[in-house]
Symmetry: C2
Subunit: 144 residues, 2 copies
Amino acid sequence: MADKEIENVILFQVDQTSKASKIYSQRELDKLGIDITIEQWVLLKIIEEKAPLSQKELAEKSLRDPASITRTLHLLEKKQLITREAIPNNRRQHNLFLTQQGVNFVNENMTLVRQLRKKSIEGFTQNELKTLSKLLLRIQQNMQ
Amino acid sequence: MADKEIENVILFQVDQTSKASKIYSQRELDKLGIDITIEQWVLLKIIEEKAPLSQKELAEKSLRDPASITRTLHLLEKKQLITREAIPNNRRQHNLFLTQQGVNFVNENMTLVRQLRKKSIEGFTQNELKTLSKLLLRIQQNMQ
DNA sequence: TATCAATAGTTGACATATCAATTAAATTAA
DNA sequence: TTAATTTAATTGATATGTCAACTATTGATA
């Protein structure tokens, strides 16, 4: 089979799509003076939806390295958006929660986030969305 | 519309797919003792296919920041995989090329890379591939 | 032509990605 | 119960992502 140009490689296209979306979304956040990175937002949102959870679980759900999670959580703690609470009979893990400020922050910015999510799939039918989800999931399953 | 869980957000799925594929591919490279990162490989491959080109063009094609390109190119130069050549009558830009070592490196590792590309889309029909490409492209166009 | 504006690339600062090594705690095995 | 193993989180080192500031050069304009 003849070699593809890299632009025609699906993995390259997936990565480009992810990058382009992040660049766009980050600019929109910046424009509105919302002081958070996309990666930080994702962690906040996961904690909001799944709390209480441990750093290990957060790393798994976000597909990020535990070391990286540690560092980003410190930043989110400094911004007073999250807290860690001791788990009884377990001094190795801590439960992660949003602070009240964190809850407010997520609520205040969900409108913009919903707009971004919506914009990303503008013109898509429900069918196309389902198809895309399934195809992406199959790539993930192939790459394990 | 009711709020989605983050796992159901397409942008999240695209990012997870990209991350999972990179983690898998990097591990395969490491296993074989191939001393290169995915990001470095992508730059090498673009230079191979498009040379001669400038750093600006490379940044655009890879959707990476020029600052980041500068640093990665230094690493690739240190590994003697690429060179920069002066452009006549233009002392601001340089043309990027693979060295002979770079050409050899790409050739030696294309077999593995082809395997990884193939594995990522195992079980996909030509039709599904086309569909996926088009849907991804539409997201990119939406996010500009 | 002299000045100003735009462009390509670099560097600094900080956030994130990743691996390896470490620490502290929990679990298992002897 | 003690010792060995496994686990969760952290830290160090290096690569990458991003913005802002800067340098050198080129292009535009008065």
